[in-house]
């Protein structure tokens, strides 16, 4: 039985819009008057924040476009049929599908979210999300270029691909047989995207733009927050401190994983940074290359906004443990 909606008092009004625009204008004026860039750390922070966002936002938008395309053009039930495959097959297949998604980690989150809502096994969607930024051809090619001419080149290229797949599958397995509602937080924007409609349905183009904008706005706020944390860390992190643990067998791997998470680099460029950590050795560098695209500060806020409580902890612990054990084993084998 339907009931008349109670009037809401927390809705934005034209006055709210005016206040927001006024606040942004005030911020611009304050920046001009106060000149915070006089302080070197403030200037550095703003430059790094700007660069992280300018580089990442187009990828988020491409991810949102892929996500909206899946929502609008992939018929309901297609992915559910895939979900009927046995899980031991689904997870490696989902990791391998990452090869076909040449975008960095920010773009893979909205795609994974959409795959899960469209019926793909949620753990397979998580596996895809974690594998795509590590195993896609652009990332593998950049790893090849970064290590070109070194003895460890093939170990790094092959190791990144295989270890990326392995960690993604293990994390997917750890996430387990959770339902999509148990995994995903609702997107407030989706309130408007899925109305029960009695009249003529909206055209596909209208729905495409609606979903594109909704996903971008949803991811955008967490990206801004995560990039802010990452820029702060990059501004103040004295990298020479990290180098002091390079000679310690297990701690060097841990230090590189922590550094990868703090630096929040794009997976398409992180190989050039990893290659520069010569004192750390190939195993620790591999840990940096596999763990970083799966767990970092900007991703943490995206995960926290997209997935339910506990997911971030599961990813951090399982990705950390698997990467650590695998790279320790490699350290014994390849040094």
């Amino acid at each position: 039985m339907a009931q008349i909606a109670a009037p809401r008092t927390d809705h934005a009004t034209p006055r709210t819009a005016l206040a927001i625009v006024g606040s942004l204008a005030m911020l611009a004026v304050i920046l001009q008057v106060v000149e915070p860039q006089r302080f070197a750390w403030v200037q550095t922070f703003f430059i790094i924040l700007g660069s992280l966002l300018i580089q990442a936002l187009p990828f988020v938008l491409i991810g949102a476009l892929a996500s909206a395309t899946i929502e609008v053009f992939v018929p309901m039930g297609t992915l559910e049929r895939l979900a009927e495959l046995p899980r031991p097959l689904q997870l490696p297949a989902a990791a391998l599908a990452g090869v076909a998604m040449p975008i960095c980690e920010c773009g893979s989150v909205p795609v994974a979210r959409r795959l899960a809502t469209k019926g793909l096994l949620p753990s397979a969607a998580v596996t895809f999300m974690l594998a795509a930024p590590v195993v896609n051809p652009v990332v593998i090619a950049s790893t090849f270029v970064a290590y070109r001419g070194r003895e460890s080149m093939w170990a790094m290229v092959g190791g990144r691909f295989l270890l990326g797949m392995l960690v993604a599958v293990v994390v997917g397995w750890t996430v387990g047989a959770v339902s999509k509602d148990g995994l995903l937080k609702p997107n407030p924007e989706d309130r408007h995207a899925h109305p029960v409609q009695l009249g003529r349905p909206e055209s596909r183009v209208r729905r495409l733009f609606l979903h594109l904008g909704s996903d971008f706005l949803f991811m955008g706020r967490y990206l801004v927050l995560g990039a802010t944390f990452a820029a702060l860390v990059q501004t103040f992190l004295p990298a020479p401190w990290i180098e002091r643990v390079a000679a310690l067998p297990v701690l060097s791997i841990v230090a590189m994983m922590v550094l990868a998470a703090l630096m929040s680099l794009c997976s398409e460029s992180d190989a050039f940074i990893a290659a520069s950590f010569v004192p750390f050795g190939p195993s620790a560098q591999l840990a940096f290359l596999v763990f970083g695209p799966m767990v970092d500060l900007k991703l943490a806020t995206l995960y926290a906004g997209t997935f339910r409580r506990g997911f971030l902890r599961t990813v951090v612990i399982s990705a950390f443990a698997t990467t650590l054990v695998a790279t320790m084993w490699l350290q014994v084998v390849i040094g």
Binding site: A2, Q3, I4, A5, D10, H11, A12, T16, A17, I20, L24, L27, A28, L31, Q37, W41, Q43, T44, F46, I47, S51, I54, Q55, L57, P58, I62, A146, R148, G149, E189, R191, H192, P195, V196, L198, G199, E202, V205, R206, F209, L210, L212, G213, L217, R221, V224, F236, P238, A239, P240, S264, C266, E268, S269, F272, I273, A274, A275, S276, V278
Partner: protein
């Protein structure tokens, strides 16, 4: 009775045929956020300020981003008239406003590049890992990227050592540390692969400099003779002149 009905589950129900389309505040607000970012991307392209944030390798994302953001904003606006009211909660509206804050920061602040502050944080792991072959180093004009990449491999180090005593001409900014003598400076340039977040530094020690002539972060052109000594590269300056910051302050490997 109102046309806007809600079930107990709060799912909006449209009665379609009897409701007139009107502007959706939710979609309009989303279009405004997308448009703000689109403006930033077009502005970066038109002013050339993109050189302060991205390397030449990844600048292609800016025109792509500008076009996609413009299309997304236009599409959102074109589909912003709905029959179902779609209000925005105040908190949501302020969060959307927060997403625009970086746009204001980038556009309102004067153009600037990374300087000495960041160089001192990155110096420990800089100047290695930039892949240039030893063959590139052993011939042609020496650049700061060559100098940085020479320290990546023993072959590169040898190739650079073979060029000791040659004349070089480098442009960079002045970096001084607590223990830098008054008649020396470090000439630094950031090497950026994708964005400023992955910047490493290419750095040489310049000796024979007039004390007090140049301060930290000043951009200078150094001409002199290069002497690679192990992992340290020294330039004995014959001339050091102040220059304007280059349009592209970062080097691309």
């Amino acid at each position: 009775m109102s046309d806007a009905l809600r079930t107990r589950t709060q799912i909006p129900v449209r009665t379609g045929e009897t409701t007139r389309a009107r502007w959706s505040p939710s979609r309009l607000a989303g279009a405004a956020v997308l448009a703000a970012w689109a403006v930033l991307f077009w502005w970066l392209l038109l002013t050339g300020r993109i050189d302060l944030y991205l390397s030449t390798r990844t600048q292609w994302v800016v025109p792509i981003g500008a076009v996609l953001l413009t299309l997304a904003a236009a599409g959102r606006l074109a589909t912003a008239r709905t029959r179902e009211p779609e209000p925005v909660r105040r908190r949501e509206a302020w969060l959307m406003g927060a997403v625009v804050v970086p746009v204001v920061l980038v556009m309102a602040l004067p153009p600037a590049a990374l300087g000495q502050f960041s160089a001192s944080k990155r110096s420990g792991f800089a100047s290695v890992g930039i892949a240039t072959s030893a063959g590139d180093i052993s011939s042609g004009e020496l650049t700061l990227v060559d100098v940085a990449s020479a320290q990546t491999t023993p072959e590169g180090e040898q190739a650079l050592s073979a060029r000791a005593g040659e004349e070089v001409d480098f442009v960079g900014f002045v970096t001084r540390y607590d223990d830098t003598p008054a008649d020396e400076l470090f000439l630094t340039r950031y090497v950026v692969t994708c964005c400023v977040a992955d910047a490493t530094i290419a750095q040489v020690r310049v000796v024979n400099v007039t004390p007090g002539a140049f301060g930290s972060n000043d951009w200078v052109e150094v001409r002199g003779t290069i002497y690679p000594i192990g992992r340290e590269v020294i330039v004995n300056a014959s001339e050091v002149a102040a220059v304007h910051r280059p349009d592209r302050p970062y080097l691309t490997p």
